[in-house]
Symmetry: C2
């Protein structure tokens, strides 16, 4: 076995190949391959769409010697196998976490702290623990405190990818390709752990960004949580049994796309809204103010103001698309 | 030349084939082909995304002996030719309309009445005139009155298809396939003209629905115009120069899809909002009330109410998708 393939000193694993040997026989087509085998064992806690897609990608790019998955229900074991998302899945939490040098919490937000306390006895000293939660301030504070007790490092992650389809059977190895992954290192980060986690996400095709957890939560309340609430409110208003006959028949592709995310998991979105409620409440105030401003122009039949409203939106969105800020778009 | 292929007596054209002859050599795969050649001349006034897609489909399915297009600018003539959207395009309005037995107004809403008055001298007696406007009450009343002066029939249409890309170069022959097209026949409709127009849209793959114009305008203010306003308001709020740094980078695929329609034509949406402003003002009140109800639950940290909000939306949208109400979805 050769030396560590990583130049930056974050590698604790013994890789399968040295960088040189790898280069000779398998000319790297991208940096991704130079980073192969970063971990001996990756454990994914909760193997659904997000966790399953991490597993598929980690296996495809050979980022670990083994990828283990923890699931709560026996039935999920078969789905994990069917999807090929992990090397093996188990309902035994401590066995799953034991010897792992990367543990990824992919459970609902509300369960993370309790789960961390449960797996603590099996957590390896020096292990890196992260999560995929959409709200960070609470998790970073709570889970980090638990994980520290085992001499392990916690760095929060928020991979900004997903879909309204749930479960491991919807998982895809390329889910994170081109997406943005925010890392929230916390107040006293372990620099090596942060770099290592960045490389991990980059190996999955994501672009990484470091942010303060509170700042992250404010920004996603506007760019992600508010659109979810708006989409759900549109559906609840329009597809209502009190709506006039023919209403549903007059919903076309614009309605379909604008409300796509309203088909997401209600439990997950309840947790997100609760965890980030102060920011979401504020974003809703701002959104309602924006709607009211437009409504006032409409009441006054102010055609130039109405056109400016739509023109500004088009210009800003087209610019955003053109700038590749939506590189995750297909 | 054989007899008319249409069983229902709406055909004024001499078709290219008899139904029998056609059946022998080209077994019809759908009713669409039995309806071929319904018109001698179709004229499309304004050959953009909607008009161009009608032209492409009418030519593909051989619904007329000739498809003419009227455009305002010389430059548009070349684009029409490039797209193959019409048999010929012209900037001469009267020549375009002359001898047409189907005239389709595909210009912005605000221009329709004036255009009808301009082409009136060339309009054939007994011709069928329609439009593709997103708001109907005003158009049905105003254009119908003008068209009647020439002894022609006006029936409003609203094909519920489109896209945020504009212009004839974005036109597609299958734009209307699987979409809903609402017909607003007006107070004293010509029954044969209404049936004929229904068959025309069905030949383009649309499902037709007859509605009172005022009822149509109310329903689309909720299912179509409100989502547009919401999408534009989201963009204006989030992609704002006053937004914190990194805000745009944290907009992902959910934001992209929820706001897709905000990239539509500002002029078109100004016209729609102005033409339907009373309904849109009321729909905005209902939408804000829905958002405020959710916000109140959030302020009270009422997790069950928050979950119900998301669960109701998911259930209603999934049901709508499953019912094929979104058969226009791909």
């Amino acid at each position: 076995m050769g030396g560590c393939v990583l130049i930056q000193g974050a590698c604790q694993a013994t890789p399968l190949w040295s960088e040189a040997a790898f280069s000779i026989f398998h000319p790297p087509s991208s940096i991704r391959y130079l980073l192969a085998v970063q971990f001996q064992k990756i454990t994914i806690l909760g193997v659904g769409l997000l966790g399953g897609s991490i597993g598929l990608a980690a296996r495809r790019h050979k980022l670990a010697r083994e990828v283990a998955g923890f699931v709560r229900r026996e039935a999920s074991l078969r789905d994990c196998e069917k999807a090929g998302a992990v090397d093996y899945a188990t309902t035994d939490l401590l066995a799953a976490v034991s010897q792992a040098d990367l543990v990824i919490l992919c459970t609902p937000l509300a369960q993370m702290r309790a789960l961390a306390q449960q797996f603590l006895p099996a957590l390896k000293r020096g292990a890196l623990v992260t999560d995929v939660g959409s709200v960070k301030a609470g998790v970073v504070r709570e889970v980090a405190a638990v994980v520290q007790q085992a001499g392990a490092h916690f760095v929060g992650s928020h991979p900004m990818a997903g879909g309204e389809k749930m479960g491991v059977l919807a998982a895809r190895a390329d889910l994170y390709a081109g997406s943005v992954c925010v890392l929230t290192p916390g107040k006293t980060p372990n620099a090596a752990a942060v770099r290592k986690l960045e490389k991990f996400w980059q190996s999955l095709g994501a672009r990484t960004l470091r942010l303060d957890a509170a700042q992250h939560d404010l920004l996603v309340s506007r760019s992600s949580h508010l659109p979810h609430v708006a989409a759900a409110a549109l559906v609840n208003l329009v597809l209502n049994s009190a709506s006039p006959q023919d209403q549903a028949g007059l919903c076309a592709t614009g309605f379909r796309d604008t409300t796509r995310i309203a088909s997401g998991s209600p439990e997950m979105w309840r947790d997100i809204a609760v965890a980030n409620r102060k920011n979401v409440v504020r974003s809703l105030d701002d959104f309602v103010a924006e709607l009211k401003k437009f409504q006032a122009a409409l009441k006054q039949n102010d055609a130039p103001a109405i056109e400016t409203f739509f023109a500004t939106a088009k210009q800003r969105r087209d610019h955003w698309c053109a700038c590749g800020a939506s590189a995750s778009t297909k």
